[in-house]
């Protein structure tokens, strides 16, 4: 790539090898960039245009070129790229054979490839930047999370929560940097700066995706590849100026546009501006109005809190507090929304899915359960004094209880659990203070 760009900068003719490498790159990057996955279009066309969500805009920006990967993990998750590379090599070979005149303007083609890559990368960066600037991608910890042991989270979840608990606009600043890099990519003179910021940012994102199995290792490597491709164009002159400290030639290339192109360029820029503004405003209004990725349906009134399981009777037999009993609940959390979570002495099956940025109705918002292996999560509906709780991960686990609230801090449940045992449960709210919110600036004494 560097010989190619050096030659280009020096306005020399391209060698046969340069042209072949360029054509391979051209086909390869287009195969990865043009959405070939029908699933992408299905998703796009399923959007309700009269009621668009910010998540829809995100999905628009979020085409992940997995192609036909044989696995979601490891080297096999890039298998589609290997095929794309083979296709690109074959395509470049055929192209080379068919191009008998040699008059094709490779520099113009190279320019257009850069345009496509710049816009693609900008879209992705803005897509992720907006949901950090308006912090919905990595939300703060829920009460259930606060009552989950550190070791009971999957690595991706503890990484998300660790970022989510940051103060001082940390997450927001990360988002602002991504957006700035994206915007710099839109203008040709600043594209190299945007690509530089993006590359630095993406190197870390690639690393943490592997380190914590965040699930976006294919996408992040793809984006890093795009940033490197943009950087490569200006690398020779930067090398001359900064490393050799000698003469550096500026980029004197000017694209030759046919008549129809300039309006198209403006149209593209305006379309992107509209996209950014609409996406950001929808994200903002969702953040203001909605608890997404958590459900919006309010929970039982004034029930928010963590509860000690004071009494627990199974089939009329009272079980005392126990650290070892697998039936007896240990504590229960009522969230502000219609979710409660239960801790007991057993290994709950863990929802191992990766987090997705998709607009879902409350019932399918599983972010609180995803990656949390310490608790069982139930969404619930109440009807007078009846409460029906449905396990968010094990869908067959539905339990119905009658509940009463003898005082403001007590909830009594009577019903049948998923093993058909009759339960009588008395929950008593605990006054719990959290070290997490105490800071470290003053001495802290806390349970």
């Amino acid at each position: 790539m560097s010989t190619l760009t050096t030659l280009h900068t020096e306005k020399q003719d391209w060698s046969g090898l340069d042209i072949f490498l360029f054509r391979t790159t051209f086909i390869f990057l287009l195969l990865l960039t043009i959405p070939l996955d029908p699933g992408y279009y299905q998703k796009i066309f399923s959007f309700n245009l009269s009621n668009l969500h910010f998540q829809d805009f995100f999905q628009l920006s979020n085409y992940v070129p997995r192609l036909f990967a044989t696995s979601d993990w490891g080297i096999a998750s890039y298998s589609g790229w290997g095929v794309a590379l083979l296709v690109a090599l074959a395509g470049a070979f055929i192209w080379q054979r068919m191009d008998t005149t040699g008059k094709q303007d490779n520099e113009q083609l190279y320019y257009w490839l850069r345009v496509i890559v710049r816009y693609r990368l900008a879209l992705a960066l803005i897509g992720y930047g907006v949901i950090k600037l308006i912090p919905v991608q990595l939300p703060g910890a829920t009460l259930s999370d606060l009552h989950t042991a550190y070791g009971d989270f999957l690595p991706w979840k503890i990484y998300y929560l660790s970022t989510g608990v940051a103060k001082a606009g940390y997450e927001q600043t990360l988002g602002a940097i991504e957006i700035a890099a994206g915007l710099l990519l839109i203008w040709r003179p600043t594209a190299v700066i945007g690509a530089g910021i993006a590359a630095a940012f993406l190197i870390n994102i690639v690393l943490v995706n592997f380190a914590y199995q965040l699930g976006q290792h294919v996408y992040s490597v793809y984006l890093l590849l795009l940033a490197a491709f943009i950087l490569a164009y200006d690398t020779p002159r930067l090398f001359q100026l900064l490393v050799k400290e000698g003469k550096a030639r500026a980029d004197h290339f000017e694209p030759v546009f046919s008549k129809n192109i300039p309006p198209l360029r403006y149209a593209a820029k305006i379309a992107l501006a509209v996209f950014v503004v609409a996406y950001a405003s929808l994200t903002y209004s969702s953040h203001a109005k909605s608890k997404w990725p958590y459900p919006d349906t309010p929970g039982l009134s004034k029930a928010y809190g963590v509860y000690n399981v004071k009494e627990f009777t199974v089939n009329k037999k009272s079980l005392p507090y126990s650290a070892t009993d697998t039936t007896r609940w240990q504590d229960v959390v009522f969230e502000r929304w219609n979710v409660l979570s239960i801790r007991a002495n057993k290994n709950f099956p863990v929802d191992t899915s990766s987090p997705v940025i998709e607009a879902h109705a409350d019932a399918k918002r599983n972010f609180d359960a995803e990656g949390n292996g310490g608790r069982a999560f139930y969404s619930y509906v109440t009807d007078k004094n009846k409460i029906t709780i449905s396990n968010k991960y094990i869908h067959s686990d539905i339990q119905v209880y009658t509940f009463s609230r003898p005082d403001s801090s007590t909830i009594v449940l009577d019903g049948v659990n998923s093993s058909n045992d009759t339960l009588h449960v008395v929950l008593e709210r605990l006054n719990k203070e959290y070290l997490l919110f105490k800071g470290r600036r003053k001495p802290v004494k806390v349970y």
Binding site: W73, G196, L242, G246, K247, K445, Y447
Partner: protein, 484 residues
Amino acid sequence: MTALTLAAEKPPVLARQNNKKEWSSAERFLFRISFIFFILLIIPVEPSWYNKLFSVKTVFAFLNSLTGYRVGFYSLHSDSGKWGLYAFVSWGIALLVALAGAAVWTFLLRNSKRKAYHDLYYWLRVLVRYRIAIGIIAFGFLKLYPMQMPDPSISNLDTNLGDYNTYKIYWQIVGVSIWYEIVLGLVEIVAGLLMLFRGTTALGAVLVAGVLYNIAHANIAYDGGVHVYSAYFVLLSLFLLVQYVPNLWKLLIKKQDVEAEYYYPIFKSKGAKTRFYTAKYAIIFVFTILFGILRYDVHYHVGQLKEPKTPGLPKAAGYYNVTEFRLNDKVIPYSPLDTLRWQSVVFEKWSTLVYKVYKPFSISLANGTPNPKDIDRSYELAGIAGGRKFLYYTADLKKGKLFLEDKNRPSLPEGDAPAKKNTAISKGNKKGKKENALVWNFYRPTADRIIITGLNENKDSIHVILDRVIKRYPIKYDRSHASL
């Protein structure tokens, strides 16, 4: 210093290096400010710093002091003075002094014919580059030998997220992935190395500015406490980048061809050149290779670590349920709300025993920095709540005795200082046991059961039966293989 005076007396003559451009009076004034400002930030002026430097006992400690000077003319004793914006007060003082100094300097030289400070600028940049390099390389080694953020201990894995302090969460997440920590260390070392050569300074400065900005902001976001020191490296890197901005602007934005014309000293004699490069490579050797070896030695041989090193009871590491708990011969049933009855016990693989009760404790808000003695190695309890009592112990395996001492000593202002000798636990059967030291008997009827008897801190007798539980922590699951 010889080279500096030399360069100042004899302006270089070679065309490319002889940047004769004159500076405007504003540029000269700005330079004078920067010069004084950065000298103040880099060269220690407090005598106490030198006293401390020359009172250290090892080569490593000496070098480590050199790499870690933090300017501190004045610190405000307030929240913000330590954790927030006011912590930058020393920078403000340096800037004020620099302004005043530059004004005097300008006044004194009002008739001078000197129109630029290419040589001084060059040497200031050298100073800044080397300051960044030795500081950031020293930081990098902490992660390369991954001990800055140890992986979570058993008791920390068992601690609820809400019972963590934010700063501990920030460090713990890096410790979760040791190879990520090693890569971060490598990046810092490479960035530091890039600082040592002219041609790679720009790239190194970009790297340092990016990485250290992230660290500085995160330290504010999580109360990490080193935001000023990390921001210091950002400031120094940005200063280095200033030189490149005009040319980059012309080359990239205005699309003009440019030719770099930076000043470099020309050595009058071969001897001067030899001295220059000898000094340069001596510094590089000392702060990379030698420092790296010494750092390794200090961690892994001397044992200057955050986590205790002495092995705990053999084959006892793990999480234990408290099957039976007797207090003064009375069985107390398990309860998550009991302030005296233990809920669980963790034996770490080192000599720490942690028991959990439903009771507020003073929380260690220390950094848990490396210490030579196990009892002072407080990383495992730093920023951890949830009713946990962390006890350091020594064991007499023959007699079946444990000698224990509370690791949490919140009275220390900085929290990280080693214990004074008189509070250290008496080793084994030494006489003069402290009042806060506990002596318990233990025996192990089976591999997974430990029975402890003795007096607790209230002098009540306890008899505790512990049974090990094998825990499979989801944080160790590999999503690419494990089916859960």
